[in-house]
Structure formats: structure tokens, C-alpha cells
Subunit: 343 residues, 3 copies
């Protein structure tokens, strides 16, 4: 269905040492195990080496260490970082097989006359762009997307259908906001007043750097006073909640279902696993890795890997251990008593 490419075109465009017939046709990029003779595949993780020999892939992208094994079975492209090569290949592949968004403003869209729309922007059906908003060159606004008043969206940024930017949100260049993401909703702020909650209007904004990706149905709240700030290159998966006044450092990656409470500061180059929670007002150093499902309850001052989850087990074993855990402190006291008697 997709137009096919030759190995020669691929290597010509993306580099690497091609070993094999440059005229061989490729019509899919895919994993080793389901590859056919017209699939280009890759081996990035040595754990999958045994899949290499049995794969029917027409060509495999490999590191120099696997050159021999790869060429023993067919064509190969040898490159120092096969995974990165694969990433670039997917980009090139998507660019040539996917239709470009139609330039211009769909007749059904509502773009306020007091909004600025850059050259080559594409605005989809039923999109709303309010007064004072500014869209840079080549911005794509999907169907049903909402760009509130006084938002600024940098050049080349794409808003998927149904992405929502509440008023005054600032987005950098080449960002990608997926469907249903809500940026700039009110943070969760209330002052107690004799048993009721008095709303703290959220007067700040959301500021997002360049090359940021935000997943489907994720939320980034506006600051209470001052801004919520997401630095350049941050990648955020789906269904992530980022509270008001959070700061996320450059190139940090945040997996799905993470919740970061208000005013937490996350360093640069961190990796936050799926389902992690981070309490409010904490500070996390650069290059911290937090494994899935950990709840971070105090600041982390040092790079490293941090974890905290209850190991799962069959239900009966878990139940016995959990019951003992409920009396763990008492068990420690019993050990202490035994130790005393022995001395």
C-alpha cells in the first residue's frame, strides 16, 4: 500500500554501510520476528540476537559487532547506533508515506481576526483560535483543537485533533501535543474556610520549551502565581498529571500515568517510570531514574536509580507476607528481645 523504497535510497539518505543490493525494495519497517523479505528491521538490543538468524527481514540495521551475523543471512546496514538509525528511518518513512496536513484554515474553523497565523500553518475543521493567540510558521492545529486567547505557539509545532491550550499558554517550536491533552487548566488550589474550600484563582501560566511532546489526555496545570515550566526536549507520555508550578528540566522523559504534585521540581535528563507519583514541593536532581509505580515522598539530591514498590506474588503468598508486614514493627521488637537475652 505504501510506496516502497530501495535500500540504496535509505542508505543514501540516512548513511551507514550498506551491505547488499541497493536496488532491493523495502515496503515496511518492522520488528525482526514478523519481518518479510521486503521489511527492513533492526537489532538494537543484543538480547534479541537469536532473532537475527531466524528473521526473514530483507535488511537488518546492526552495530559493527553484528555485521558478520547479519550479512550471513542477507542484506544489512551497519551503523554505530542502530536504534538511533531506526528512529531516523521511521521519521523518513513517515514523511514519505503520510499525507501532509492541508495548508490554510479550514472553512469551518473559528480563528479570531485578532489572532496571528504564521505562514504555511494548517488549521483543521472546527478548530478554535482565540483573540491574541499567535501561531508560528508551519504550525498544525488539528480538528477540534482549542487555542485560547493570548496563547503563543512556536514554529513547526503540531497540535493533534482535540488538543487544548487554555489561555496564555506558551509553547515552543517543534512541539507535539497529542489528542485530548489539556495544557493550562486551573491548578488544584483552595484555602480552607470554616469547613469549606475557597478557590485560589490560578493566575500563572504554562510555559513549554522547544521539542516537547505531550501525550494523549495528559494535563499540565497553569501556575497559581508564577508559571508551570517544562523545559526543552521533555517527553511526556499519556495520562500524565503535572500540577501547578511544577518545573521539569530539559530532556526528562515521563512515562504514562505519572502524577507530579504542585511545585515539585524535577531535574534535567531524568527518567520517570510509569505510574510514578511525586509529592508536591520536592526537588529531584538531574539524571535521576525512578522506576515504575514508586511514590517519591522526599527530595532526591543525587543522580541514581530509585525504587519503591511492593513485589507482587501469587495472592496467597502476598497475603501471608502482607499480614506479617502489618506487624513488622512488633517482629523487630521480638528480635531485639531475643538479642538481649542472648548477650
Amino acid at each position: 500500500m505504501h510506496p516502497s523504497a530501495t535500500l540504496g535510497e535509505i542508505a543514501g539518505r540516512l548513511g551507514g554501510e550498506l551491505i547488499g543490493d541497493p536496488a532491493a525494495g523495502i515496503d515496511a519497517v518492522g520488528p525482526l520476528e514478523s519481518a518479510t523479505a521486503s521489511t527492513i528491521s533492526f537489532l538494537a538490543n543484543p538480547l534479541y540476537e537469536k532473532q537475527l538468524a531466524s528473521s526473514r527481514a530483507g535488511c537488518v540495521i546492526v552495530a559493527p559487532a553484528f555485521k558478520e551475523a547479519a550479512t550471513a543471512r542477507g542484506a544489512a546496514i551497519v551503523t554505530p547506533d542502530p536504534y538511533l538509525y531506526f528512529a531516523r528511518l521511521t521519521q523518513w518513512w513517515a514523511a514519505r508515506t503520510r499525507p501532509l496536513p492541508l495548508p490554510g484554515i479550514h472553512p469551518s474553523a473559528q480563528v479570531d481576526p485578532a489572532a496571528e497565523v504564521g505562514a504555511h500553518a494548517s488549521i483543521g475543521a472546527f478548530a478554535v483560535v482565540e483573540a491574541g493567540a499567535s501561531l508560528g510558521a508551519g504550525v498544525t492545529v488539528g480538528a477540534h483543537a482549542f487555542v485560547g486567547r493570548d496563547c503563543r505557539v512556536g514554529a513547526g509545532t503540531r497540535l493533534a485533533p482535540r488538543a487544548t491550550l487554555m489561555f496564555e499558554t506558551v509553547l515552543g517550536e517543534r512541539c507535539f501535543v497529542q489528542s485530548g491533552a489539556v495544557i493550562g487548566a486551573d491548578g488544584f488550589g483552595f484555602a480552607p474556610d470554616a469547613g469549606r474550600w475557597e478557590k485560589i484563582e490560578q493566575l500563572g501560566r504554562v510555559q513549554i520549551g522547544d521539542d516537547v511532546e505531550i501525550g494523549a489526555n495528559s494535563c499540565i496545570d497553569r501556575g497559581a502565581t508564577g508559571d508551570t515550566v517544562i523545559a526543552d526536549g521533555v517527553k511526556i507520555d499519556n495520562l500524565v498529571q503535572i500540577g501547578h508550578n511544577v518545573k521539569v528540566g530539559a530532556h526528562t522523559a515521563i512515562a504514562g500515568c505519572v502524577g507530579i504534585a504542585g511545585s515539585a521540581t524535577i531535574g534535567a535528563h531524568c527518567m520517570v517510570g510509569g505510574g510514578v507519583g511525586i509529592n508536591g514541593h520536592l526537588s529531584i536532581a538531574d539524571r535521576v531514574v525512578i522506576t515504575a509505580a514508586t511514590q517519591v515522598t522526599r527530595s532526591i539530591a543525587k543522580a541514581g536509580v530509585y525504587s519503591g514498590l511492593f513485589p507482587f506474588d501469587d495472592n496467597a503468598s502476598w497475603e501471608k507476607n502482607a499480614a506479617t508486614l502489618r506487624n513488622l514493627h512488633a517482629l523487630r521488637e521480638r528480635v531485639r528481645a531475643l538479642e538481649k537475652k542472648q548477650t
Copy 2:
């Protein structure tokens, strides 16, 4: 407010042994404890037996074992599986009390001329159906719903208002996608490149079988290469995240707030409790039950019930046990030392 039905009509339509006046009128389906003389209720769980005697329900659906107890207090319908009977009753009730979606295309909708729309389809206000999409007979597309290019939606499937199908998504027959669900957004894939992340374009699709329900604001990502696959009869609750290339087997039920990381394979007839997380690249057998809030960190090869959550307690007790837990390994060493001394 709703048109009432007689017990005779209900039993005539849905079967069961009716004991009582077939002309008695019913105007609500409801739980035993708040039932009135015109409510039909059910007893499925023997734990609620004591509610039976005191309920004012006009009729109670019961299993044969409760026939005597039920008829001692009024009308009853006796059937081998009261809960299933109740399910079918709700379907019948909803069908007769809820207005049908208007057939045809709402004048405000944007349906590309290059989309196929089956007979008796209903497309709501401001819906978007892009080129190459195909909607089967009797499909309902709610207001503000989005059906991207080349999507295929099987006969009888309903998209609630604001459901989103990104391009190339395949949905089977009789599915139900609730509001805000996003199917076919990009998976979370990036290759590291000298401290930055290089996007891996997600070239696969989402393929969903027949009779699948997907909850509000849930997300199912498209495959990186190859497809994300949800088999027939799968039921997914709200705010669930399903990563790229996940496979979910037939008739598996997934409760709210679950996160399933990329390339995990879940068997058929599984039950995944609320808030569960499943790490990527794992494999889970058929008929596995995972209780709420468990994080699954390795594959599960055998049917059974699996758990892993920290038992909650009053804060003071929890804190003492948690503090001991932090030194649990040292405690084990102390026990070992005591054991050595004793031998």
C-alpha cells in the same frame, strides 16, 4: 417519567418463571434497598439475602434457591443466573426508554466525500470523518467525535461524543468507545541521542475486535511498527493507558486507571484490577486475575490470582512498619545471626 412495563412483558421478553401478577406495572430497575412497589430488583449475591426480606421491590429476580424467600414477600422472577438476567433487563429497559440517535448526517458535521458511510449510520454535530474512512451499517458517531483518515469502523459500533480515532484505526462491530477516549495516538518511543531524544515515528496502527468497550478518556496507542491489538469482547474502563504494540486477549476486562506499558501481551479472559500497572514486554497467561494496585514486573505463566500492595493502616502504625521495612534486610541478618548462635 419513563413508560412503565408490566411483569408479564418483562418475563415474556426475557424468560424466567414469573410468580406474581403479570399485569403489575414496573417503572424502574433498581437495587433492593431503595426499591419501591414499582421497582424490579434482583438478588445475585447471597450476601445481600437479608435485604430481600425487607425490600419493598415490586418484583425480585432470584435464583431457584431463593424462590421461597422471594415469593414470601411478593412477586418474583426465578432464573438460573439472576445477574445475567438483570443485565439483559437493563438492555431491554434502555432500548425502550432512550431515544435512538437520529439517523443521517448532522448538517454541521464534516464528512469527507471520500469517506464511506453505511446504511442507517448516525453522525452527530461537529463530527469529523476524514477521507478514506469507512463506517459500517448502523454506526453512531457522536457530536465532536473524530474519525481520522482510513479508519474502519464495523457495523453497529458507537462512538460517544468526543471519541477520537486517529488515522488508520480499525474497530470491529458492536464496539462502544466512550467520550474522550483516544485510540491511535502515537506510542511513547524515542531513541537517546547524546542527551536528547529522537522521535521514533509510530508506523503501526490499532486493531480492535468486535464487542469491545473502551472507557472515557482512556488511551490506546498505535504500534511503533506492527499493530496494537485488542481482541474480541475486551472491556476497558475509564482512564486506562495501553501502550504501543500491546496485545490484549479476548474477553479480558481491565478496570479503571490501569497502565499497560509497551509490547506487553495479556492473555484472554483475564481480569485486571483498578490502578494496576504492567511493565513493558511482559507476557501474561490466560485467566490471570490481578488485584487492584498491583505492579506486575515480570511475566505470569500460570492462571491464578496475583497481588502486590502495601496494606494500608492508620498513619502511625504504617509509619512504624514502613520504617522497619526500610531495614528489613538488616533484620533478616540479625535473625540469621541469632540462629547461628543457637546451633
Copy 3:
């Protein structure tokens, strides 16, 4: 950019003892540490007292105990509850700096002739209001918002862009529903039938009281039979899931990423921390505080603070403790054996 206010205006409007020049101009409300000479700030938490002396804020709102420290450095407003004063100040500030929604119905909106729209209501672009819906006076319906048939929305309630109320939902007065929230989707109910799931149509509704706030992309499901009920003054953060037939008592606050399973009953004045899960069919007393990431697996009959999370640690320490935890029950048996030998 925003019109500035004088300290005299602020104290005139909101009260408190102003110590300083009433003519001094203020153009921002902000935190102590980034304040400038035209910022009004506040000190609510004595932990931040040391920020007071070094802050460049033009005026600080303080409690009587800090009057001396505050006036030593510049202007101050003295009031018994500075945080509540700050909340009211943000409300006043927002009201004077933010444009009012345009009254009337946007020409692109679809409002059914059989819907009632109260005086001074504002209905945004592409909003849908179905037949039988009723909107009270001064209601705001944002762009792309959806109000299903027979919904009732009380006076002064605001629906942000892309908020969704499914049919028959009842919302009180002065509520705020943020973007992407879905109220009244089907609850997750299925009866097993020989390995398949039979849908239980959800015949109930969602009933929400006055002064309720519901966060972005949160979900509140309609009841199966009978209603899901959220009482007055409840505040719900983003990405929260509330199952069918849940009852939430007045003035309870629920932080982000919480999941409450079906038919749970939560008391009034509770505080539910981020990422908490609550099993179905439980009952939780008034004034219960549940700390972040706790899974509540049984009812709580008494006010108090409850917790249950695995303390996080560096990965190596966690792994050792987790491994021991998997054999905790055996460790207890070993301690018991030691105790026996000693007696």
C-alpha cells in the same frame, strides 16, 4: 500588562489592617521569593518565615504574629488568615484582569430549540446543547463543550472548553468543570456469560451539588441503577476516576490521579491524596485523610489519617528489602522458632 491596583483598593475591598502607603501600586500577585516591588505576596506557612526578610515584595499579607517582621521590611496587610485572604485576593484579581465570557450564544454553537438557556448565559463556539437541557442564569459553556439531552446546569456554573456532560446529568450552581472532564459516561458493569461479558446498561445518572469543581480529563460515571452523587463543595483534581454509584460527601477534596471504584461511599470533609485508590463498595467516615498512593481495601469507620505505601529508596537498598519481604512470613516463623527454643 495587567492594570495595576493600589494597596488602598485591595484593603478597601478585602479588609485587613493595611500598614503602608495606600497609593502604592501593585501589578502582580506572587510568591515571596520571586516578588518585586510591585508584587503583593503572602506568608501563610511559618516555615517560609525566613523568605519574609529577604523578599522584595511591595506588600506582604501576614498574620498578626508576623506583623512586626513584615512591617520591618515594608508594607503589610495584617489579617487573621493570610491564606484565605490570598485566595480572595486571587479571585478579585482574576475578576478584574480577565475578560468576561461573551454573553449570548456563539453563532456556530448548536443549541437545540428544546433546550432552556438562562439569562446572561454564554455559549461558546461549536458547543452543543441538546434537547431538554436546561442552563441556569449566567452559565458559561465553553467552546466544544457538550451538554447532553435533559441535563440540568445550575446558575453560575462554568463548563470549560471541551467539558462533556452526558445525558441527564445534574450539576448544581457555581460549579466549574474543567476541560476534557466527562460526567455521566457509562459505568463499568458487565455480567459474565459463559466466558463473555454481557453489558449492564447504566440506567442511573450523575447528580452533583453546588460549588463543586471537577478537574481536567476527570471522569464521573453515571449510576448503574440509582445515581452517582457528589455533594456540595467537593473539589476534584485532574485525571480522577469516580465509578458508578459512588457517593462523595460535602467539602471532600480529591487530589489528582485518584480512582474510586463503584459504589464506594466517601464521607464529608475528607482529603484524598494523589494517586489513592479506593476499592468498590467500601464506606469511609467523615474527616478521613488518606495520604498519597494508598490503596484503601476495607472500610474506614473513624476519622484520622491513613497510609499505605512502600517507602522508596535507592534501587539497591529497595531490592534487598523487597527480596526479604517476599519471604517475610518465613522470617516470622524463624523468629517464632527462636523464641520457642529460648523458653
